[in-house]
Amino acid sequence: MKPDEAMTLYEYAWWARDRLLTAADGISDEEFGRDNGFTYSSLRGILVHAMDAEASWCSRFLREEVKRPPGDGELLSVAALRERWALEETRLRRFLADVTEVALTDDFVFQRRNGQEIRTPLWVLLTHVVNHGTQHRSEAAEALTMVGRSPGSLDFTTYVWE
């Protein structure tokens, strides 16, 4: 994986995320947080988890402290989540803009939340973050569709053709 290829995958992920957030626009805070029986309980729960994972990995990549996940009283509206995610996107763009081909191939050493040291090539971790986003974006898309707000196609080719 080369730096521009990594950026392409993240551009696609943020394009798809924006389709979800647009589909969620106008949803009430109550509906946003309403339990829908999914693993992450609600549309808010799913999207906050996806954003938080992306932000936590970004902090590791930038060698910054990993923040605690947002609490139950935070990011209660689509607007608040969008604002926070845009900030996290800016941080991750900064990292991706500077990453080199050598760094992508090298092992990235970090500590898990339990203190265990892990060594994994950076390209694997960057692929993991995109893939994790796809998984939970898919859940959010299904949750939105169930309340009559389908985000439409999230396929990579739709992104490319657009």
Partner: protein
Amino acid sequence: MDAEYFRFLYDYLYWARDKVLAAAEGLSEEEYKRDVGFTYHSVRGILTHALAGEAVWLPRAWREQPGPFLHEDDVPTLAALRERWQAEESKQRAYLAKLTDAEAAGSVTFKGRDGNDRTLPVWQILTMEFHHTVQHRSEAAEALTILGHSPGDLDLVFYTRERGL
């Protein structure tokens, strides 16, 4: 993206698929077909759609003409779906084993479902179909969890740890 990247991605894809299919083995036939309110209705419907996507898109990368779009009646049981998917997997693995970086960067022209010619870089086809399967596999995982049969963690990092990568 080079050929080795796609060999890695698709090996992960089949690893995660097998976790989903193993979880689906715990469903009764009625649960497998039960409408859970998702776009593709049931675990069967979702998995059939994921397989159908691979059966249409991957032959385009192989420069072969895909067969007709798969429907649930074509793979009515979990066993039938698994057998068909494994056949598609074998063809995809054989293709990936020989794929070169130059071929991954090159383009193919194929007939779209509307009959018009389309040209795409091979890496875009392989990326598109990977994410398509991940999207619908994720729906299947959620549907299975709702039915009390979670497939467990499907994250890429669990695959790499299990493979010692």
